[in-house]
């Protein structure tokens, strides 16, 4: 692969990237000061409300109180956000299905359908109480508040210890939807060869145990949240996306590449079967991110939420443009799947600091994310790590990049913050990667992890489900 075969054109095109960077400078130069203020104010307001809540005799009394309406607004926004995050499951299903072959379509759809089902149930059973074990475990590494859902019987229990801006149920719903996404990320990377039952066992372990434990370190007010300069991860570049990405990396290392992907030291692409599906998926994910990041403000605070939505959208747009330009320069033509990955990269990258960045910061973070994702795809291919949908490039690489960017740009930038970010990245990465690696190895030893070569060639749809995804359309499966 001669990637710089036409140096002059490349140079011209590369300079276009820099021209764009230059153009965004005016955007970037703006101060994000009001945002910072807003953050402080919001935090206070939430704290106050929390203090107030238990004062009411019953729910009716609370409804009569002046704070009830604002509480209702906040809760409404959080519910809308939860709905949008839920919808991301469809986004993942479409992206992963679109970027894989039609003979494995039913299998991938099934996984992406049953994972949120399992995720929501196990999160209700244990995950939620592992991730948010309560005040007793503040600063710790592990805590558990018992099985099942439930809360104190009086009105004060309407909200949990972790929020005062919306109800306990809303809290659970929003967090449960987040949990499901982490496992879904893995499913794309291991697609087209992993045994269904084995993967489902992994999913249960991953979403019930691994995700909540590292989540607790930060969002559950564990040790990472109590560093001198606390680790910062606004909506989960690390806690959700990198976690999924580490799981994906462990999976593709142990599984090995799909048959036919690498031959005589060359990469033979196994083409995804439907770009429309992949595109639908990316738009649905972008929409979902309005809730993923917008809801992570944990209130409807106008200044903060709207800033977050703007930084999120700008980073997504810049990611799309960055990946397009990079693939245009490097590959001579703009690759559609790279543009799509670029948007996701921008979204993942901004997620850690979406509330701390100016418009210009977010453009730069997204643009770099979009460039990174293209090189990351090359890089993993070089390493003969086969990730059909680019999950590691999107979620792991950009999850790390976005988390680091919090120390490099925006309100929190600074050396101490960089150190804290690195601590969080490494700690969560090491834990999750080892957890996933061991889980996969144990599952492999006990029940096997990969389908037979015959089944892989014929397709997992027939092998695992006895289904065909498109029985009306004749098709021979060449690979």
């Amino acid at each position: 692969m001669k990637l710089w075969s036409k140096p002059l054109t490349s140079l011209l095109k590369t300079s276009a990237v820099f021209a764009l960077l230059a153009l965004v400078y005016p955007v970037s130069a703006q101060e994000a000061a009001p945002a910072a203020e807003a953050v402080a104010a919001a935090t206070e307001a939430v704290a106050e409300a929390a203090a107030e809540a238990p004062a009411f005799a019953d729910y009716a009394a609370f409804q009569e109180s002046p704070g009830y309406t604002l509480f209702t607004v906040n809760n409404t926004w959080m519910m809308v956000s939860a709905a949008l995050v839920f919808f991301m499951n469809l986004g993942f299903a479409c992206v992963e299905t679109g970027l894989t072959r039609s003979k494995n379509t039913a299998n991938i759809l099934f996984k992406n359908t049953i994972i949120p089902c399992i995720g929501i149930l196990t999160y209700a059973l244990a995950g939620f109480n592992l991730m948010y074990p309560g005040a007793d475990f503040a600063g710790g590494w592990f805590g558990f508040a018992g099985f099942g859902l439930g809360f104190a019987d009086d009105v004060s229990g309407l909200t949990s210890v972790y929020n005062a801006g919306y109800t306990y149920w809303t809290d659970f719903l929003f967090q449960a939807m987040f949990a499901a996404t982490a496992a879904t990320i893995v499913s794309g990377a291991v697609a087209e060869r992993v045994k269904l039952s084995s993967f489902l066992v992994f999913t249960v372990l991953f979403v019930t145990i691994a995700y909540p434990i590292t989540g607790m370190w930060k969002w559950g007010n564990g040790w990472l949240n109590n560093l001198e300069t606390p680790f910062y991860d606004f909506a989960g570049s690390t806690l959700v996306h990198s976690v999924g990405g580490w799981g994906a990396l462990a999976g593709i290392i142990i599984l090995g590449p799909r048959i036919g992907k690498f031959k005589d030291g060359k990469v033979l692409p196994l083409l995804g079967h439907s770009l429309p599906l992949a595109t639908i998926g990316v738009f649905v994910l972008w929409l979902g991110w309005f809730g993923f990041n917008g809801g992570s403000v944990l209130s409807a605070n106008p200044a903060l939420v709207s800033l977050v939505l703007v930084t999120t959208s700008l980073a997504a747009a810049a990611g799309g443009v960055g990946a397009t330009l990079t693939s245009w320069v490097m590959l001579k033509k703009p690759d559609v799947s790279m543009a799509l990955n670029g948007i996701l990269a921008g979204l993942v990258a901004i997620t850690a600091g979406a509330d701390q960045m100016s418009a210009g910061d977010s453009v730069i973070i997204g643009l770099i994310g979009g460039i990174l994702v293209v090189f990351a795809v090359f890089f993993f291919d070089k390493l003969k790590l086969d990730d059909p949908v680019g999950a590691t490039s999107v979620h792991l690489v950009n999850g790390i990049w976005g988390t680091l960017a919090v120390g490099l740009f925006g309100n929190l930038k600074g050396g101490a913050q960089i150190v804290s970010q690195l601590k969080g990245i490494v700690a969560i990465g090491v834990f999750t990667f080892i957890f996933a690696l061991v889980s996969f190895l144990v599952i492999k030893a006990i029940m096997g992890l990969r389908v037979s070569a015959e089944e892989e060639i014929e397709g997992l749809d027939i092998g695992e489900h006895g289904n065909e995804a498109y029985p009306d359309f004749t098709q021979a499966h060449h690979n």
Binding site: M1, V267, L268, P269, L271, S327, M330, L331, K332, K333, D335, S337, M338, V374, V377, F378, D381, G390
Partner: protein, 112 residues
């Protein structure tokens, strides 16, 4: 009777069909195929990896004609399908021993 098999460029199908109609041929069967020949495929790139598309979309037209029509048919196809560029395709002629019209059980030339 002969079975004439023509491999042509897909966008020429309409013209070939009209050319055949104009010489009175009113039956044919068409299949979408992939062709490999001197016309080389393109090198494309998917997610950063080059690959060659060797097989190009072609259309196969099968026509059964009575012996006296063979030359005329072949000529009509060649004329209509020609662009002069590489990849225009081939015409093959095979001997046919029997033809049957299912609807009427007619055999031989009457069935064509």
């Amino acid at each position: 009777m002969k079975l004439i098999i023509a491999i042509i460029k897909p966008f020429k199908l309409e013209e070939v069909k009209e050319a055949l109609s104009s010489i009175g041929i009113e039956g044919m069967t068409v299949t979408e195929v992939k062709g490999f020949g001197r016309q080389k495929g393109h090198t494309e790139i998917y997610r950063g990896s080059e690959y060659t598309v060797d097989f190009l979309p072609k259309v196969k037209v099968e026509i059964v004609v009575t012996d006296e029509l063979v030359a005329k048919t072949v000529d009509a196809i060649v004329k209509a399908a020609k662009t002069g560029k590489i990849g225009d395709g081939k015409v093959f002629v095979l001997a046919l021993e029997e033809a049957v019209r299912i609807r009427t059980d007619e055999r031989g030339d009457a069935a064509v």
